[in-house]
C-alpha cells in the first residue's frame, strides 16, 4: 500500500466513524429522556455529519476519481466501511449511549489532537476544527457519566453494565493495522500504543469520578477497520442509504 492509499483509507475511516456516530445519536430524536438531552444528542449528531462530510470530501479529492462526499457516504456497502465496532453498537439506554460517547470521544479527541500537526495539511485543518467540537461532546458526556455513575443505585448499575458490555469493543481502537502503521510513519499519525496509555489514564480518571469500576481487559472484539462488522452496521446503512438506493442520483 502506498502512502497516499493509506491516507485515503485512513481519512475515509475517520469519516465512517463520524457518520455512524451521527446515525446512532440521531436515533435519540423523539426518544430522549428530556428535551434538552434530545437537543444535545442531535447537536452532536450534526457535528459528526459535518465532520464526516469534510473527511469524505477530502478522501474524494485525494483519490481523484471524482467521487463526492455523498458518493462515498451513500454508495458503499458494509464491507467498504472501516468504522470501529464500538460506534455501530446499538444505543441501548441513555446511560449506554453516554458510556459509548465517553469511551469513543476520549479516543477521538486524542486522535484528532495528534493529527492536528500532520503534514497532510487538509487533514490537520479538519482535525483542528473537529477537536473543538469533540471536546465539547466529551465534556458533556463526562458530566453525565458522573451524574449517572454517582447517582442512584439504578443509574449506577445501568451505566456500570454499559461500560462492562462496551469494553470488549475498546481494544480495536488501538490495534494498528497497515493503514495505521503507514499513517504513523509517513503522515505523523498517532502512535496507537502511546495513545492507548493516554486513553487509559483519562478513562481511569473519568470512571473514578463517576464511582465506576474499570473492567478487566479480556477478549477484545475487532474487525471493523477491515470491513468485518457486527450485524448492526447493515441496518444502519440500510436506513441511511435507502433513499439513494431507491432513487439513485436523487437530489435534495
Amino acid at each position: 500500500m502506498s502512502k497516499d492509499q493509506a491516507l485515503i483509507a485512513y481519512v475515509t475511516r475517520m469519516g465512517d466513524n463520524a457518520i455512524v456516530m451521527a446515525q446512532r445519536l440521531s436515533e435519540w430524536v423523539g426518544h430522549g429522556p428530556e428535551l434538552e438531552e434530545e437537543m444535545a444528542m442531535s447537536n452532536f449528531a450534526l457535528d459528526y455529519v459535518g465532520q464526516a462530510r469534510m473527511f469524505f470530501s477530502y478522501a474524494g479529492e485525494l483519490d481523484g476519481k471524482g467521487r463526492s462526499d455523498d458518493d462515498i457516504c451513500f454508495l458503499r456497502d458494509g464491507w467498504d466501511y472501516g468504522n470501529v465496532l464500538l460506534v455501530e453498537q446499538p444505543n441501548g439506554d441513555f446511560g449506554e449511549t453516554i458510556a459509548r460517547l465517553v469511551l469513543f470521544e476520549t479516543f477521538y479527541s486524542l486522535q484528532l489532537e495528534a493529527l492536528a500537526t500532520s503534514p497532510a495539511t487538509k487533514l490537520a485543518e479538519i482535525a483542528a476544527r473537529a477537536i473543538k467540537e469533540s471536546t465539547y461532546h466529551l465534556r458533556h458526556a463526562s458530566n453525565w457519566l458522573i451524574r449517572l455513575g454517582d447517582g442512584t443505585d439504578e443509574s449506577h448499575r445501568r451505566v456500570q453494565n454499559a461500560i462492562d458490555r462496551l469494553w470488549t469493543y475498546t481494544g480495536e481502537l488501538f490495534e494498528a493495522d497497515p493503514v495505521d502503521q503507514i499513517m504513523q510513519s509517513e503522515w505523523q499519525g498517532p502512535d496507537l500504543t502511546v495513545l492507548r496509555e493516554y486513553w487509559h489514564r483519562q478513562i481511569d480518571e473519568s470512571l473514578a469520578k463517576a464511582t465506576l469500576q474499570k473492567p478487566e481487559d479480556g477478549w477484545m472484539d475487532s474487525g471493523g477497520k477491515g470491513g468485518h462488522h457486527s450485524e448492526h452496521l447493515g441496518y444502519i446503512l440500510a436506513e441511511m442509504q435507502s433513499l439513494q438506493r431507491t432513487y439513485p442520483g436523487a437530489n435534495w
Partner: protein, 170 residues
C-alpha cells in the same frame, strides 16, 4: 488599476457587511467573523468563508447569499473559498457583534474563552458567570448546554426570570 482594485475590494466588504447571518439575523456575517478574506484578481472576487461548526446547516446558505448579494451589487465574477484554518471560534466575533448580540437578547460569548487552556482544562471547571442580556444580573442558571442552534446554549435569569440564550464559547 491599483485604485480600481481597491474600490472593488472595498465595495465587496461593504456588501458583505450587510449580509445577515440566517440564524442570528441581527449579526452580519462580517460581525460573526466568518468572512476571512476578500481577494481581487482583475474583475474576479474570491471570498474566504470559515464555517462556524462543522455541521452548521447554514454554511451553504451563507455561501449562496454571498454570491447572490455580490452579484446584485454589480460584482459578477464571484467565487467562494472555504477556509478551515485557523478554525473559527467565538473569539472571531467582533466587539460590535457582541454588542449587537447583547441588545438582541443573546448573551455574547466570553472573550478569550476559546483559548486552549480553558477549553481543554478540567471539564468540571468550565462553569462561568453569564450575565443576563436583559437586566444585566449575574444570578443566572444554565438550563442546557444546547439551544435552538448548534452555536447556542440555554440559560435563564434568576432575577428577572427571563429565559435567554448564550452564544457558546468554543
Amino acid at each position: 488599476m491599483q485604485a480600481a482594485r481597491k474600490t472593488l475590494e472595498t465595495s465587496a466588504w461593504e456588501i458583505l457587511e450587510q449580509i445577515p447571518d440566517p440564524e442570528i439575523p441581527v449579526l452580519s456575517i462580517v460581525d460573526l467573523g466568518i468572512v476571512r478574506s476578500v481577494e481581487v484578481d482583475g474583475a474576479k472576487v474570491t471570498v474566504g468563508v470559515a464555517p462556524t461548526y462543522s455541521g452548521c446547516p447554514a454554511t451553504e446558505f451563507i455561501e449562496d447569499s454571498v454570491v447572490k448579494s455580490l452579484q446584485s451589487g454589480g460584482i459578477t465574477l464571484v467565487s467562494i473559498r472555504r477556509v478551515l484554518s485557523p478554525p473559527w471560534t467565538s473569539d472571531w466575533i467582533s466587539d460590535r457583534g457582541r454588542e449587537k448580540l447583547r441588545k438582541y437578547g443573546i448573551a455574547p460569548p466570553e472573550k478569550g474563552a476559546a483559548a486552549r487552556g480553558r477549553l481543554l482544562g478540567d471539564p468540571m471547571a468550565t462553569e462561568r458567570i453569564v450575565a443576563c442580556p436583559r437586566c444585566g444580573a449575574e444570578n443566572t442558571e444554565k438550563v442546557s448546554e444546547f439551544g435552538s442552534t448548534a452555536c447556542k446554549a440555554s440559560y435563564k435569569c434568576i432575577e428577572c426570570l427571563e429565559p435567554f440564550e448564550y452564544f457558546k464559547c468554543i
